[in-house]
Amino acid sequence: MADGNTSDAFVAFERVQKSYDGETLVVKDLNLALPKGEFLTMLGPSGSGKTTCLMMLAGFETATHGEILLDGKPINNIPPHKRGIGMVFQNYALFPHMTVAENLAFPLEVRKIGKSDREAKVKRALDMVQMGDFGGRRPAQLSGGQQQRIALARALVFEPELVLMDEPLGALDKQLREHMQFEITNLAHSLGITTVYVTHDQTEALTMSDRVAVFDDGRIQQLAPPDQLYESPQNSFVAQFIGENNTLSGIVTAVDGELCNVTLDDGETIVAKAVNIAGVGERTQVSIRPERVEYNKERMAEGVHTLHAEVLEFIYMGDIFRTRLRVAGKEDFIIKTRNAPDQVRLRRGDKIEIGWLPTDCHALDA
């Protein structure tokens, strides 16, 4: 699934495996290649192996098998302090006994950079995160968002080509988090650094990344740009994990090129895009995004197959309406419609017909 072309990659994982206890593999056969300047996010639930991968790249864990390459050179035998990789830690890991400026100067001091040069670089890094006036403070005197900025500045101050971020926004409130997402991506792109970002927040992954690697069970389930990941998930896990998703289960009854017929458990047959099915007669999970479902007859495309549905709940959310339906015997079918002037507001108990384009409906592994 990950492209195996590692020859011109800046960072590459080649058949990497990791086991902590010698029995269970936390990371199973990881192959991943990043070109220079890419912002890649490792997304996955906790325990999926994403943080372990980051730690192996930083050098705090060693791969049990396989090779990790940085700029074409294997780094398995290079200790963390000689890798020259910047990192933002989950809890920021600012040194509490040093001022902000001393924190930033630390990586420069250990690199034996002269005092005047050092001060200039520290100042530039602080200005970059708009914290220029805070050099004399101690980390404990800063708010969470400010500490986050300092941690970011410290990871960038020695001008590394690769920066790792381990859920750096996890401790911030929603508004600040959204603001920082924007700032981090901007900085990363304007400085041209390669970034590996770990998160379990799918919105963060979608909004920030050039590409997202979805981890589960120690494997990359899909590696794709955000839009592809959302619109054409390769398997049920990705479909469920990224964004909101409706699933209907059934049996594949016919395959016709890109499309296939799926007979749902209640007997109705629908047409879906055959993405990841085992073959005719096998079970499948059909995935449809809530916003791609239409119930307004006039807006539906010609010849769209429709299903009967009953409204169970209608939730007004301002910009959108969120409606819960009973479809094909399932009671958790969600549709989202835009709050447009001509949009019909459904009521509980309404019987409607719903439909979608066959290409918006993916038949995936059961």
Binding site: H81, F95, H97, R154
Partner: protein, 284 residues
Amino acid sequence: MSGLPPYATTGQRIWYYAFRVICGLIFFFLIAPIVVVMPLSFNAQDFFTFTPEMLRLDPEGYSLKHYRDFFETSDWQAAMWNSLKIAPMATFLSVSFGTLAAIGLSSEHVPFRRAIMAILISPMIVPLIISAAGMYFFYSRIGLQGTYLGVVLAHAVLGIPFVIITVTATLVGFDRSLTRASANMGANPVTTFFRVQMPLIMPGVISGALFAFITSFDEVVVVLFVGSAGQKTLPWQMFIGLREQISPTILAVATMLVAISICLLTVVELLRRRSERLRGLSPG
């Protein structure tokens, strides 16, 4: 002002005052023997009791002769210099080894860490006379008995448990991602230790050092076994003084030792607060 709520019952009221009386008695029990020694050390007579002149607060009844005696007797002077040569060296060794041991034992992948910890702490638990006898036989065999180095090593062993305990306590709150961050920024393990880890565990190291110093400075049993006349320390000299020539000079020495202890405690507490503040734990 009273801490009693208005709804307290008679029983609660009685207990409230009884509790304070008990606390006062305990405090008195702990402090009285030390306090009594202090005025006695200024006795103008060679007695261990308050003379009628002293009780009348007559200046004639008081003098500094026992202090003079301490500074003019070569035995006492030698003992003091011995103590001052042994205690700092033993403290230095205790702190170095104890800190390293605490750091090592706080990392999870060390096998048998509980057992190792128990062994290192044991000098604190095993009766001193047993440690002392054991050291005597062992040090005699390897030629350390009766040497300066032998006494220093023996005292270092006694001080290590205190350092391990205090440093381990500070390490519990130590965030391991700080050392990782340091490595990530290019600092080798030695730099990381001195620039990041050491400043942050300093309060524990300082407290441990104080305990180790006091342990060595006050210790009499082990030095009696391991040392020879050349390593006669202050406590040893006091012990001899009590046994052979009952002289109030001992009281003068005791008073000075108490004063030194109070000074040390104060200095160390100030140091500890300062480094705690630097650690960013309490508002600066």
